[in-house]
């Protein structure tokens, strides 16, 4: 079966632009996570969805970051008024149910110029 897919794979944005990053989890996976990975660092948690419910958004760095998963499958991470410090790889992961191993997508590399 297909794994987690993300699009676009690469995104270059000028400072101040809005961006939207898409994640297609593995079909049937209830849990969906977003992580941010800066260069040379491990991934850091951003937010968690159980089906369509966003149960934890404690890792979102500012109110410019917004995530949704309206139908409990595809998720979108939106960043408004991008800043240079937003440059990173954004990883999406899904798991069948809570507490099981997470399967990661290839990530979207965002570069803000």
């Amino acid at each position: 079966g297909a794994g987690v897919s993300q699009s676009p794979r690469y995104k270059v944005a000028k400072r101040g632009q809005d961006v939207a990053l898409r994640c297609d989890p593995i079909s049937g996976h209830v849990s969906l996570f977003w992580y941010q990975q800066a260069l040379g660092q491990g991934p850091e948690f951003l937010t968690y969805f159980q089906n369509e419910a966003q149960l934890d958004k404690s890792g979102l760095p500012s109110d410019r970051f917004f995530a949704e998963r309206p139908e409990g499958s595809v998720s979108t991470l939106k960043i408004q008024r991008t800043q240079q410090e937003d440059s990173a790889v954004y990883l999406c992961a899904s798991s069948l149910v809570e507490g099981y191993e997470q399967y990661f997508g290839p990530g979207t590399r965002l570069t803000v110029t």
């Binding site: 987690v4 491990g42 149960l55 934890d56 992961a93 507490g99 990661f104 290839p106 990530g107």
Partner: protein
């Protein structure tokens, strides 16, 4: 706050060598520790460890957890150039939330030369 520290941060070896990667952690309510391999794409799952002293093995890779001393090691024997990657260690805290949020270490960059 949960914390994961990996060492060494980078390692260069030659094919055929054996390597040991270290991961120490601090977590309020430990549930599990996971190892991932990250090449130029998605981190791929290697092992999930929940119990002390039980070695998990997959081919040339093996891992073990020590919950008393709060660390885990990942061993790779007879390394190959295809083992070159970043190896990530992560922990899951069972307290507060039960959904499996991962706290990662910085990763160990392994380079295997022919």
């Amino acid at each position: 706050e949960d914390k994961v520290v990996q060492s060494p941060l980078s390692l260069v070896v030659h094919e055929g060598d054996t390597v040991t990667l270290n991961c120490s952690y601090e977590v309020t309510n430990f549930r599990s520790l996971l190892w991932y391999k990250q090449e130029k794409k998605a981190p791929t799952f290697l092992f999930m460890l929940t119990s002390s002293g039980i070695e998990k093995k997959s081919g040339r890779l093996s891992s073990i957890l020590d919950k008393k001393e709060l660390f885990s090691i990942l061993n790779i024997t007879a390394t190959q150039t295809g083992d070159s990657a970043i190896y990530l260690c992560a922990v899951v805290d069972a307290g507060g939330t039960s959904y499996g949020k991962l706290t990662f270490g910085q990763g160990t960059i392994l380079t295997v030369h022919p």
